[in-house]
Amino acid sequence: MNGEAPPRDEMLRALEAVLFVAAEPVSSTVLAQLLETDRGAVEASLARLAEDYERAGSGLVLRNVAGGWRLFSHPSASPVVERFILSSRHTRLTKAALETMAIVAYKQPVTRHQVAAIRGVNSDGVLSALVDRGLLEEVGRDEGPGRPLLFGTTPEFLERLGLASIGDLPSLAPLLEEPERDDASDVSEEIPIEPESDDGA
């Protein structure tokens, strides 16, 4: 609020223009190539742009999601924006869907069977519904017998959550509190507590 930011230079302007026309997140590597500069310079400009928006009380926000940068309308404007596009993405997900999504997010790639084993119930319907919604996708096949399909999260999943990468999910460890009993403290060590997805989504 104090002291006006200097006018954006040519590079910043080009950056903003490209982000405006892009229909998906653009990585800083791609932006650097486009602007014939290095990633460091791009990232500094991106930070400056985000700050400018905030300072000016802009209707736009710049976010780092799903491995790239993308402009979004400001969340405080969402009621008006939704009225304008006559659709809302506020989808109510069932508890089963959230549970399934959580398991896939942390354990990916997983088979239907693994999801069902953790949830204790058949989860095929929920899985396909989440695939239909573009939140999960088939990412390959397991090598095991029957070569079952493997599921993982989509870039859209990350985008909808506002996460830059799957590693930004909250750690499971603090959530692995014991339910009522306290006689099995050694068991929790056997449970993988970090997302097992270093190999990417």
């Binding site: 405006f20 026309v21 892009a22 229909a23 998906e24 926000v61 976010r63 993308r70 402009l71 979004f72 309308s73 400001h74 969340p75 969402s78 924006v81 939704e82 596009i85 809302s88 993405r89 506020h90 989808t91 997900l93 508890k95 959230l98 549970e99 999504m101 959580a102 398991i103 997010a105 942390y106 239907r112 069977h113 069902a116 084993a117 953790i118 949830r119 204790g120 119930v121 058949n122 989860s123 095929d124 319907g125 079952p148 985008e159 909808r160 959550l161 506002g162 996460l163 909250p170 499971l172 959530l175 692995l176 509190e177 014991e178 339910p179 099995a184 068991v187 929790s188 056997e190 449970i191």
Partner: protein, 253 residues
């Protein structure tokens, strides 16, 4: 679920006999065979087994809490296995997992699942928050449209057909052939009842008479529902002098 493996259970529990096309013998043994998947759960009518259990309880003049609890637990597992078979399912082996394996593994799983539930709550909030950000889908203005000469480069008619089919495909149908359907309908029963009442000279009948040709309880139930329908429409009058007494039905047309 692991109740039957417990030592403390008296040996008499579950010893009542069942007679089924696939099995003849004590239920306890049947339950073990089912859980071991030696006998297919879908070959067994849980309702029939339950009938036998109720008969058995009556014969024994009273319920044993221990046995009733055990029986309920077993039936719950059987139904869960059966439902698992009815609905589209993951590859074989799931039933074993449903039974939990060792208690340690089961406990570890419950911890893990609890954590996933908690993180599911977080996901709900993050998604709600994320839904308020709208990205721009419109792309560049028309002035740039000429730069897209190859938009269709990789699009084949086949890819298009596959995309259309994926959206237009009807949802998969469930195979319900092994769920025995109820073959009587209230509509049919209505016709029968109206025919009986309106064609007789007296225009009255007892409920007992109206169901005299019914061989199974479900048919009696459906006749009764049909009468209630007629009563609601004012086409019959119903009179019952005392509880559990005869029901007099009068045709009003």
């Amino acid at each position: 679920m692991s109740a039957m493996k417990e030592e403390g259970l008296s040996s008499r529990v579950g010893e009542f006999p069942v007679e089924l096309p696939v099995f003849n013998g004590p239920f306890r043994l049947l339950a073990e065979l089912l859980l071991d998947r030696t006998i297919d759960v879908c070959d067994v009518s849980v309702a029939r087994v339950t009938e036998r259990f109720l008969e058995h309880a009556e014969e024994a003049e009273g319920w044993s809490l221990e046995e009733a609890t055990w029986f309920l637990a077993i039936c719950a597992v059987l139904l869960e296995m059966k439902v698992g078979r009815l609905l589209p399912r993951p590859p074989r082996g799931e039933e074993e997992d449903l039974l939990g394996g060792s208690p340690d593994v089961a406990y570890a799983r419950s911890l893990e699942l609890a954590a996933f539930r908690r993180v599911g709550q977080w996901l709900r909030e993050a998604l709600a928050d994320g839904a308020r950000y709208h990205g721009r889908e419109a792309g560049p203005a028309e002035e740039f449209a000429h730069l897209y000469p190859d938009l269709m480069e990789r699009v084949t008619p086949e890819a298009l057909a596959e995309a259309a089919a994926a959206l237009l495909r009807p949802p998969p149908t469930l195979d319900l052939s092994h769920v025995a359907p109820i073959r009587v309908s209230v509509a049919d029963a209505l016709e029968t009842v109206v025919a009986q009442l309106s064609q007789g000279r007296k225009k009255t009948a007892r409920f007992r008479e109206l169901v005299s040709d019914c061989r199974e309880p479900i048919h009696v139930v459906v006749r009764f529902l049909a009468l209630l329908e007629l009563y609601k429409d004012g086409r019959v009058g119903l009179k019952q002098a005392k509880n559990f007494g005869e029901i007099e039905v009068k045709w009003k047309g």
